[in-house]
């Protein structure tokens, strides 16, 4: 039986064979190069799980403990590997539990295909057991979605789903498959999708816009680059590096763009945004040409729009036409894939060094170092800071780890201080700000890059939102390193309460369980650190371990993250304390 099936797999392209819809789904996944997926079974998806059982030598299914975990794991896998992540769930609550992951993948442009089971076609709309209108529910949070009600639709729709998820500006696709379609037999053949007539995945670059961009860049006195995830998604890291080095333009990154350029590169001037670095934020309002590449001017990056880079000419390199002029007016919009457009731009730009301008960034960095950074990573006070933990992880992992962060203070500190040598190393929930993202995403990230060290850095709040995924780490022995920075508070909300709500700490104090015991309950090696003298060694031990490892670090309870652009303020109003 097994050998017959294998034979079918080999012959599947073009030739037709009569198989069930459920088996067809497996063949589609194999055709698309999927070797791992995350999910949770249930009534309406059981025929597909039955086929997964038969194909387990070719396709690994990871049983997460909650469908949200499956979606985030698929995201983590996709973000680190550049491949499409796949998650699967049953109808009703299984499907609705995927929604947060879909929304997260949509706003952070992560390629993902989610497959959900659905009640049989005859029962659609009848409020059947575990029926929910997941197409209606997921529409605003998917790049595309489709309900399959007949097995014969499966190959074409699955091919289209993967093409849409990975092409152009990537995103999540949901395919809902009624149970009858899973049982029906039909003649299967598979052709990969390479185009959809109503969809322009990647706009063709217009050379005139690139010439205009080059002219602005060549005449600029104080040019400034801000890049985003578009560099990583477009595999344009080398082009960015060449551009920066040739032109000598200081370059900063959005949270989603982190790791695209070596953290220690002399022209990498740090992070922009609400808790980004002082210089790049402040100088956004002093540059004369702002070169935005593969970023979308999120409000956390721009602060008050009316006062964002008004003095500058803006060049916007962007793959998605809907992003042009959405938030910030582009004097020169350059549509297209970042790699393609930067390649065209490179020969047109003149070599330069912009030494004086770069020195302004250095001066601002020194101010930030003296007032914030020094105290964050080399504290003299008694309590441990989140910053020094990150610094120790940098040292112990030789800046080579994939850092997966959750949402909140630890995330901002993590992104500020984690250092990277390799691209695709900063996995975080940027746009949606999904607490509970990190633990499952780290599982997916590790499975997407088994040869790399993966360190999840999580707050005590977010950790408890998806803590059940420790079960996956235990069951599959996934060697991720988990660091919980425990301040017994919902730290970021508490910080806002301190600064903007007169210290009324409404529902931000957490009475936490014994996290070490919980990890040990899952047979994961676990340790707690609460004193500085034990920190370095504990982190070294954790990094050296070849197994999953949990480290709780008790940090100062009421530390704040600075610099900070208060909500609604201009980037130039950034506060150092």
């Amino acid at each position: 039986m097994e050998t017959l099936k294998e034979k079918k797999v080999k012959e599947s392209t073009q030739k037709t064979i009569k198989i069930s819809g459920a088996e067809a789904i497996i063949h589609c996944l194999l055709e698309e190069g999927v070797d791992i997926l995350y999910g949770y079974p249930g009534g309406a998806i059981m025929p597909v799980y039955d086929e997964l059982y038969k194909f387990q030598d070719k396709l690994t299914h990871i049983l997460t403990r909650h469908e949200q975990g499956a979606a985030h794991a698929a995201q983590g896998y996709a973000r680190v590997s550049g491949k499409v992540g796949v998650a699967m769930a049953t109808s009703g609550p299984g499907a609705t539990n995927l929604v947060t992951g879909l929304a997260d993948a949509q706003i952070d442009s992560t390629p993902m295909v989610c497959i959900t089971g659905q009640v049989t076609r005859e029962l659609l709309g009848s409020d059947a057991f575990q029926e929910t209108d997941i197409i209606g529910i997921s529409t605003p949070v998917t790049k595309w979605n489709y309900q399959i009600t007949s097995a014969s639709e499966i190959p074409e729709i699955m091919a289209k789903a993967f093409y849409i998820a990975r092409s152009g500006r990537p995103g999540p696709v949901l395919v809902d498959i009624t149970k009858n379609a899973q049982f029906e037999e039909f003649d299967f053949s598979y052709t990969k999708c390479t185009a959809v007539r109503s969809y322009i995945a990647t706009p063709k670059p217009d050379i005139k816009t690139i010439e205009a961009a080059a002219e602005l860049i060549n005449n600029a006195k104080k040019p400034f680059i801000v890049w985003g995830q578009g560099i990583i998604l477009g595999k344009a890291e080398n082009e960015l590096k060449t551009l920066v080095e040739k032109t000598g333009i200081p370059a900063a990154w959005t949270i989603m763009g982190a790791s695209a350029l070596d953290s220690d590169h002399p022209l990498n001037v740090g992070m922009v945004g609400m808790h980004g670095n002082y210089g790049p934020n402040l100088l956004t309002n002093e540059c004369d040409v702002l070169i935005a590449i593969g970023m979308r001017f999120d409000d956390r990056v721009t602060g008050r729009l009316e006062d964002y880079a008004k003095q500058a000419k803006v060049i916007h390199f962007e793959i998605d036409p809907a992003e042009i002029n959405k938030n910030v007016h582009a004097d020169v919009p350059v549509l297209g894939d970042a790699k393609e457009t930067l390649e065209l731009l490179l020969p047109m730009v003149k070599s330069n060094s912009h030494v004086d301008w770069h020195n302004v960034f250095k001066e601002k960095y020194q101010i930030e170092f003296d007032t914030v950074i020094k105290n964050d990573i080399h504290p003299t006070k008694e309590g441990l800071t989140m910053g020094e933990v990150i610094e120790e992880i940098n040292l112990a992992s030789d800046q080579k780890a994939v850092i997966v962060t959750d949402v909140g203070q630890h995330q901002m500190i993590g992104c500020r201080y984690a250092k990277f040598k390799e691209t695709k190393s900063n996995i975080t929930s940027g746009g949606l700000g999904t607490m509970g993202f990190a633990l499952p995403a780290a599982i997916g990230a590790k499975m997407g890059a088994m040869d790399r060290e993966v360190v999840a850095i999580i707050g005590d709040g977010g950790y408890q939102m998806t803590i059940q995924e420790l079960g996956v780490i235990f069951q599959h022995n996934v060697p991720v390193k988990i660091v919980v920075l425990n301040n017994d508070h919902l730290g970021m909300v508490r910080q806002w309460q301190e600064l903007f709500f007169d210290r009324r700490y409404a529902s931000t104090v957490m009475t936490n369980p014994d996290f070490v015991k919980i990890a040990e309950g899952y047979h994961i090696e676990a340790k707690r650190v609460s004193e500085r003298k034990d920190l370095k060694k504990s982190i070294q031990e954790m990094i050296a371990s070849e197994n999953p490892y949990f480290l709780e670090v008790k940090v100062e309870k009421e530390d704040n993250v600075f610099p900070m652009i208060p909500s609604g303020a201009a980037v130039s109003e950034i506060r150092l304390k």
Binding site: I135, T139, P140, I164, P321, A322
Partner: protein, 175 residues
């Protein structure tokens, strides 16, 4: 930026769920759709949405961008009223006896350039196509006599400029 009337024209594949996807973009921005019409277009198997909104140009531009990026949308445009030829249609159901008893009704029918669609023992139906204000005027004139039922369609419009949809689809076929 001042608010204006805009007509958004969307050329799309004819698929289940696309209406939901498009209307969701307005919902997300808390914009009320003043009128909506979906019909076939001049191209086989291509649908046309005609959507009227009252908003600023910046918002309509963003909305059209977000509509256009939906996978099954081929192209979307927006126009101000001067750039389009547009009409609405309305039906008035009125008691038949009024047609004989009220002289003025016959005058209204003639002057408004409306058509009698059907006459039965109990009621007759008037159809009127035109601009919104013309229909409103007719409504006000008929109102004193009693309107049994009234319905008005969404705006339908064609642009004065050439729409390049066919060329766009042909280009796809060749690639």
């Amino acid at each position: 930026m001042k608010k204006e009337w805009f007509t958004i024209s969307v050329y799309s594949e004819n698929n289940v769920g696309l209406l939901n996807r498009i209307s969701g973009i307005f919902l997300k921005r808390h914009i009320n759709i003043e009128s909506l019409n979906v019909s076939k277009s001049e191209i086989d198997n291509v649908s046309k949405f005609t959507i009227v909104v009252h908003t600023t140009e910046k918002w309509v531009r963003n909305i059209v961008g977000q509509i256009e990026k939906q996978i099954e949308v081929i192209r979307a445009f927006y126009h101000i009223d001067d750039e389009t030829i547009y009409q609405e249609s309305a039906l008035f159901k009125i008691a038949s006896n009024l047609l004989f008893d009220e002289r003025q009704i016959q005058n209204i029918i003639k002057e408004s350039n409306s058509q009698i669609v059907t006459v039965s023992r109990d009621f007759f139906v008037l159809a009127k196509s035109g601009r919104r204000y013309e229909i409103d005027e007719m409504y006000e004139m008929l109102k004193p006599f009693g309107i049994m039922q009234f319905v008005r369609s969404g705006r339908i419009s064609v642009s004065k400029e050439v729409m390049q949809i066919t060329a766009l689809l042909e280009e796809f076929q060749h690639n």
